[in-house]
């Protein structure tokens, strides 16, 4: 499931909704991303997330389908917020549920890595020196490239 929204969300409620009535789920791996109060050693007072409405949802849906093709997943969830947020605020939540914990963890990592580089979101950080657009991290591209080069990870956790 995909949700792109300005509103905050409740992690416990989201996990409950994802798992309720699905008692074959053995484990849920999740990742919650928060606004940090520092960036490159400087205090951050606010962060504004801009996105490309319409395309964002399409890209997230593609990423989700790809994860479900690679791993035996019972459910997945991606929530990504946009708008102006303060340090400590929730930005993104990714959950992957599976009968197998390895599949849940790897799918969750995969989804987060792809979100960082393939979903059309941009972050503007505000601090004492004004506002600055966050630059793409080379390490994020590398993290994503790992999944493209190596499909053996997915094979390893997929039941024979």
């Amino acid at each position: 499931m995909i949700r792109v929204q300005a509103e905050d969300f409740d992690v416990g409620d989201e996990i409950d909704r994802l798992t309720s009535g699905r008692t074959h789920i053995g484990g849920i791996a999740t990742f919650l991303g928060l606004v940090r109060d520092m960036a490159k050693g400087r205090p951050v007072t606010a962060m504004t997330l801009e996105h490309f409405p319409g395309m964002t949802e399409k890209e997230l849906a593609k990423i989700e389908v790809e994860a479900q093709e690679r791993w035996p997943l019972d459910a997945t969830l991606i929530i990504h917020r946009y708008g102006r947020l303060a340090p400590g605020d929730r930005i993104v939540f990714v959950a992957a549920a599976s009968a197998h914990r390895e599949a849940a963890f790897e799918a969750c990592m995969f989804l987060v890595d792809y979100l960082k580089t393939r979903a059309p979101f941009w972050k503007l950080e505000e601090g004492a020196a004004g506002a600055e657009w966050v630059e793409a991290r080379e390490s994020d591209d590398l993290a994503r490239a790992r999944w493209e080069a190596d499909s053996s990870l997915a094979k390893r956790v997929r039941p024979a």
Binding site: G33, E50, F52, M55, F121, W122, K123, E135
Partner: protein
Amino acid sequence: MKLLYFAWVRQRIGIAEEEVTPPANVATLGDLVEWLKGRGPGYAAAFANPGVIKAAVNQEFSRPDRRLSPGDEIALFPPMTGG
């Protein structure tokens, strides 16, 4: 065709979207960016380094050699920083 700008591309140009009718020799996405650079100092600043610019044609990521049609919606933006 309809153009959409995001993040610092939008800020430097000063608008979020516009309708344009480029000349006939603008055939590809790469041509379009080169043509836009000549439209004013904001455009020149936004596309000073075209190599870092990402683009989507009709909401699909596309490379500079992508051929364009008059009805296309073209989005131009910096590398994504989501998550």
